[in-house]
Symmetry: C2
Subunit: 345 residues, 2 copies
């Protein structure tokens, strides 16, 4: 079969790899139909974080179950499924409390297992990891494209909003206009926020933010951006979603937080060296909550909303490629030609 | 009158300063009877943070009201009072929600106002700032020494415990065996924690921690300390009190936190440059809550416990000096000859 493989900085190739097979009785083999390129993939793509070379890529799988091990009970061949970027056993202390990303058994797809950017994957702990799409929607292409972001970015944006404590009537600030930030806007709106200020640097993305429920947008940078957002929130917001993971965005998030507020952070903090934000957190008693999103905890609720038509994150996909087009997908994301790339395998 | 004045690194002198007077109708003048030297005073004492020279020192005042302005209604001359390290108007948005340290009007004593290490202070916003000690206890020396820590360290330790979410039956880890850490142990015990692991470097202080309710102590350093605390908590604690504010103690706090847990931090983060703890927070979804303690929010509840005899933080005072002895008090704190110094003016 074919799959995308990372060979070094800005070098992703689609090449022949071995077909996956059932190895444990709790495994399933899934034929991938839809997947995506993630903003977090850009860290290694740009050579800014360590990654195996060669290394399989992709962690947002959706597809059809081909085969299951003897102990798999929740899915069967032919089922349309999706899976979070984190593999989880479903049975340990952390899975049971909803913190699937701290599962004692497993970590993630690419790197430790098959990458999702390929024709098939072996899915370990299929019962704990795979989420079944109800049969009546299993072949509805529009629905599937709206569900795919639930494998990562939509649930990650939701985790930012939940971690920031967004509730009905609240004012929230979303820092970042990437796919996660846009999903954060959608999530804050879904949770009932009355005012949502989206901060970013790209007019086209901030337009999507408005479509997703942002009541105001701030396109400025640095101090000007902080001043504008602070002014719009009459002194800072109690709920701030940090959806980037850079040093400057952490600073911005704590700058625009109201004393006593909370920053929900979900951006992989690859670029945060200095802890300047900590002094702000201390002085204003602004909490920091969140982290890597326990997607599995949220996916059922969000799926229900997608299926009933009240939630649709699919506008984040501004470009679509096929399997062979994955390298072009990375290029487009890297050069910001696309917000997020959908891969139809 | 006489008061302590900072003149530069390790140079605190008791010298003649002008008597305070009522300046605003909301002021009171308080004759100080008891005060203390704070661990956070060591930052400037050691030349590690900026401080005016000359600059009045001390922010933990207890004394007797001498005079009040026309608009003061909650205290009158002759009342025994204490005050938090933060001055607060009692009427703004943040005071009303209990976040007195973010009061829009005022900041603190020494630096912006009179320091508490002197014969008298002018207390701005007396109604919002001063806390009256009930008359029947107003001259009970034992009670007063047990109440004095409520001006800062006891409420700060309590804020760490509250921020870390400590409740009945919980397991908590307290990082730091200074006065705040010891008060954190006392607070965790008061909130019902079943197991309290106190981490520090000084056997004599860890003995006080045991007296205060620590069920286990860890006196090791670095990785060994983390391993021991992790083992004692079967994989980390859901509630961690960070009571130091150094880079290494932040790292330790996030190392010993259980996935999904919370670090309550109250140590002034003067020494935290690198944000290594952030990656741990992200990976494990460990929240960071707390900051500078809104003492005024807690002081009434904690005072009730002191007065009924169920709370007594006074063992943190391991040395007592008079007004002239304040420079010796700083020396003793600096050289760790004393946990905390009580000043009887």
């Amino acid at each position: 079969m074919k799959a995308a493989v990372y060979h070094g900085e800005r070098d992703v190739r689609v090449e022949e790899v071995p077909d996956p097979e059932i190895e444990e009785s709790t495994d399933a083999v899934v034929r991938i139909t839809h997947t995506a390129v993630c903003g977090s993939d850009l860290w290694f793509y740009r050579g800014e974080s360590d990654y195996p070379t060669p290394g399989r890529t992709g962690h947002e799988p959706m597809g059809v179950v081909e085969e299951v091990g003897d102990d798999v009970t929740s899915v069967r061949p032919g089922d349309r499924v999706l899976a979070p970027f984190a593999i989880s056993c479903g049975e340990c202390e952390f899975c049971r409390k909803g913190l699937y990303t701290s599962c004692v058994e497993e970590k993630g797809w690419a790197g430790e297992h098959d990458g999702a950017q390929g024709e098939k994957v072996r899915a370990p702990f299929a019962d704990g990891t795979l989420v079944r799409v109800p049969e009546r929607y299993a072949d509805d292409e529009d629905v599937l494209e709206s569900l795919l972001p639930l494998t990562d970015v939509m649930c990650t944006g939701h985790h930012a909003a939940v971690s920031a404590g967004v509730g009905p009537g609240d004012t929230a600030v979303v820092v970042g206009d990437g796919a996660v930030g846009l999903c954060g806007v959608l999530a804050a709106d879904r949770l009932g926020a009355e005012r949502i200020v989206a901060m970013g640097h790209h007019e086209d993305r901030l337009e999507i933010a408005e479509e997703f429920g942002a009541t105001e947008t701030v396109a400025a940078r640095g101090e000007e951006a902080v001043e504008r957002a602070t002014e719009l929130t009459y002194g800072g917001a109690n709920h701030v979603l940090e959806c980037v993971g850079a040093e400057s965005s952490m600073d911005t998030a704590f700058d625009v937080a109201r004393p006593g507020g909370t920053v929900g952070f979900v951006g992989v903090p690859e670029g945060v060296d200095e802890a300047a934000f900590l002094e702000k957190a201390f002085r204003k008693n602004v909490g920091l909550e969140g982290g890597v999103a326990p997607v599995r905890k949220y996916v059922d609720d969000l799926m229900a909303d997608v299926l009933q038509g009240t939630l649709d994150p699919s506008p984040i996909f501004t470009k679509t490629v096929d399997l062979e087009g994955i390298p072009e997908g990375y290029r487009a994301m890297d050069e910001r030609d696309a917000v997020k790339v959908l891969v139809k395998v």
